[in-house]
């Protein structure tokens, strides 16, 4: 049986074949599809957790109780899960545990470009790096074997190009997964990470790493492809495919499927065979540093960039200095991502922008786009859940250095559940008078409308009691008088609410509730809006909303009828009554 699979789908297939039964994750590009794909296999339990730390802890509990488990996250998600991640090496696993980190070199959809291979060496856990969809499937099976054999979690690191590109995967159709579970042993002292136990465990882990290194040296995951002894290239992950694309079989290659613990013997063997060594790796000089630490001379980051995604062209130019002739490029305007037409965030941002004395701390989600042209309503975006805590810090500076500004935080529903709740608790308990706007669109939109505790449905389709954000807010200590719930497409109400909130001397919460446009895109809106070009004076106030249905064609502002969702926000901002129902 063969199928064209995205790397992420292949990882799901592999985990299924490996008899992994319990999966807990928080969505994040480019990792999301792994969990979505595995959730439809029969006989698995898959859930969306509120954040990556919780997800990893669920998977940790499952593997210790004796069932193979999986957690997947994007690279910055691993930062959230770093606490249990580092300790799981000490805790050990019982049944296998695999942690997928889907890195995003090139920053297609993230806040930064971090190379999570370094987490493996820092946390002292084996690291696997697949180079294709087929390897995604095969190596997950291997990862579980390694995890159980060496009693350690395994970090399985992909990049956007491995996770999201498709290749042919061969697999067994007649799969009868053998349900082999591990026995749970109560109160095995290794699992209590008290100082005396952890000190002992650290010694064991160091010894264990030497065993895993021996395995790494003999494992077919690390393979030398012998060819000409003139040039040798050491590579891993997607870079391997680019190297093969550029050089075919004309150079020798050391392909590292398991790059930590570093296969030192194999590297020596390779170094003895080839004259000149190049290291081709995306991101940090992870392999290069290991080689150099062994005294093996090589060229890597001197010529291969640290920043951005690699491709065959960069590698060709760097090593051979050849360039392929091509047509001169045409400079066309970019099409940056924008909020959807009819998105409720447009109304709230429009109201907030009327105030020049508001500092707006943003967060991670679609509403981050409210920081870009032409909306420009947000001042900062740091990481998942940071808006409320950052706003607290900003507000506190005004005790010392008054700026005459009110600090607002903007956070989505899923992000609030992820890591906003603790920030709100902190603001309330420490009496910091900020305004927290929870942009509740009943969905985790940016990653593709996944469920979250507010939606009332679970990943695998069962219904659940939707958690009411207002209940949480009140429980965290916001006074009922300081809570407003509004529909942001009603501009007047939104405007008044922002005015009231600004004057509050206590922490204040606005829940701005309007369902995500993509959730209801199937239904055609009843009323659409048009611009009366006779009365329109081209003041461009409507274009400043940032609605993608409003366009300038032949120097006239128009509302694209294909895109208009009939939300009426533009009609409400037009000072000349030129926007009317179609």
């Amino acid at each position: 049986m063969k199928a064209l699979m995205m790397g992420n789908e292949a990882i799901a297939r592999g985990a299924y074949e490996a008899n992994c039964k319990i999966i807990s994750s928080y969505p994040g590009t480019p990792s999301t599809e792994i969990v979505e794909s595995i959730s439809v296999y029969e006989g698995v339990y898959a859930e969306w957790a509120p954040n990556e730390k919780v997800a990893l802890e669920v998977a940790a509990g499952a593997c210790i109780a004796g069932i193979r488990s999986l957690t997947t996250m994007k690279h910055v998600g691993v930062n959230v899960a770093a606490d249990p991640l580092f300790n799981m090496t000490y805790e050990g696993v019982n049944a296998g545990l695999v942690i997928v980190s889907a890195d995003d070199p090139g920053i297609h959809s993230s806040q930064n470009e971090q190379d999570n291979r370094i987490y493996a060496s820092h946390a002292k856990m084996p690291l696997l790096e697949p180079t294709s969809s087929q390897e995604c499937k095969d190596m997950i099976l291997e990862a579980y074997e390694i995890s159980e054999r060496f009693n350690t979690p395994v970090l399985f690191r992909t990049t956007t190009r491995v996770s999201h590109s498709k290749g042919i995967v061969h697999f067994r159709e007649d799969l009868a997964v053998e349900e082999k579970f591990k026995t749970y042993k109560k109160n095995k002292l290794d699992r209590l990470l008290l100082p005396a136990i952890s000190r002992k465990r650290h010694l064991e882990i160091e010894a264990n790493l030497l065993d895993i290194q021996a395995y790494s040296n003999s494992s077919p995951l690390n393979v030398i492809e012998y060819s000409s002894p003139e040039i040798g290239i050491v590579t891993s992950g997607i870079s391997y495919q680019y190297v093969k694309e550029v050089f075919g079989d004309t150079v020798s290659v050391l392909k590292l499927g398991m790059s930590y613990p570093f296969p030192d013997e194999k590297a020596k063997e390779f170094a003895a065979w080839v004259k000149t060594i190049y290291v081709v790796e995306e991101g940090e000089p992870f392999i290069e540093t290991s080689l150099k630490a062994m005294g093996i001379a090589c060229t890597g980051k001197d010529i291969i960039p640290v920043c951005g995604e690699l491709n065959p062209e960069i590698i060709r130019k760097a090593i051979t200095r050849e360039e392929i002739g091509c047509y001169e490029g045409v400079n066309v305007p970019p099409r940056p991502p924008r909020l959807c037409a009819g998105c409720g965030y447009l109304g709230l941002y429009s109201a907030v922008k009327q105030h020049r004395d508001i500092i707006a701390a943003g967060d991670i989600g679609c509403y981050t786009l409210g920081g870009t042209e032409p909306i420009k309503a947000l001042d900062t975006v740091l990481c998942m859940g940071a808006s409320i805590s950052m706003a607290t810090g900003m507000q506190r500076t005004q005790d010392f250095k008054p700026m005459g500004k009110k600090v607002f935080a903007f956070i989505g529903d899923s992000t609030f559940f992820h890591s906003g709740m603790t920030g709100l608790l902190n603001a309330v308990y420490n009496k910091t008078p900020i305004v927290i706007c929870i942009l509740d669109n009943r969905s985790t939109s940016m990653t593709g409308n996944q469920e979250n505790p507010g939606t009332g449905r679970t990943l695998q389709g069962s219904t659940s009691e939707a958690i009411r954000i207002e209940d949480i807010v009140l429980a965290l200590g916001i006074k009922p008088d300081n809570l407003r719930i509004l529909d942001p497409t009603n501009l007047q109400e939104t405007q008044q609410c922002v005015d009231t909130a600004k004057l509050s001397t206590e922490p204040f919460v606005i829940i701005s509730r309007h369902p995500c446009e993509l959730l209801k895109s199937k239904a055609e809106p009843k009323n659409k809006y048009v611009i009366d070009n006779v009365t329109c004076v081209n003041c461009k106030k409507c274009t400043m909303l940032g609605c993608s249905a409003i366009k300038i064609v032949d120097r006239q502002i128009i509302i694209d009828q294909m895109d208009c969702k009939g939300c009426s926000i533009c009609q409400q901002v037009c000072p000349y009554d030129s926007i009317k129902e179609a």
Partner: protein, 196 residues
């Protein structure tokens, strides 16, 4: 190096680039080729550029196409075709949909930019799709033009279309694909006449 054919499909979110990419790549798998596909989407569902790269042949390594090596660029509109222009092989072919651009930022100034490429075929994708009854099928007209340019027969693609397109859209879609193939064939025949 192995013989591979590289195709870039470029358009705007929601116009069917990903659907066409799926049909194309699944059909190529059915024909027995090694296939790799790289899609760039994600945030682009919110009106951004979307493009996909498809490579097929005996053995494919890289899912990414190198600059100056694409055999075909299929532009679902002119601007998106131009965005990827320097990825085209000097002998490569561009197939461009003559869709109307409804925003000043993307209009007008770029018409003459196509003169720099050796082989450009304009396809009346939008107009043809309208004739077949569904303006949203311009993507299949473009797929038809591409399949014809690649020298494929329709038969294989019929079954792929039936497998990957929802029942209620199948008839229109297949019709659009056929019209696209026919358009491209007419263009190619004309070219042959000129060469004589």
């Amino acid at each position: 190096m192995t013989a591979a054919t590289s195709i870039i499909l470029a358009g705007v979110g929601g116009k069917g680039v990903i659907t066409v990419t799926n049909v194309l790549s699944q059909g190529l798998v059915a024909l027995g080729y090694d296939v790799k596909v790289s899609e760039v989407h994600g945030m682009s569902q919110r009106g951004g550029s979307v493009h996909a790269q498809v490579r097929f042949g005996d053995k494919i390594y890289s899912p990414l196409i190198e600059m100056g090596t694409a055999d075909y660029i299929v532009g679902f509109d002119q601007i998106e075709a131009l965005r990827w222009g320097s990825f085209l092989k000097l002998e490569g072919r561009m197939l461009v949909n003559l869709a109307e651009l409804n925003e000043d930022t993307y209009k007008g100034k770029y018409d003459d930019s196509f003169s720099r490429y050796k082989h450009v075929t304009y396809v009346e994708g939008t107009a043809i799709a309208k004739e077949t009854g569904n303006v949203r099928n311009e993507n299949f007209v473009m797929l038809g033009a591409l399949l014809q340019a690649l020298g494929f027969e329709f038969d294989v693609w019929k079954s792929t279309m039936e497998k990957y397109i929802k029942k209620q859209y199948q008839e229109d879609s297949i019709l659009s694909l056929l019209r696209g193939m026919r358009e491209q064939r007419a263009v190619e025949e004309k070219e042959t006449v000129y060469e004589l």
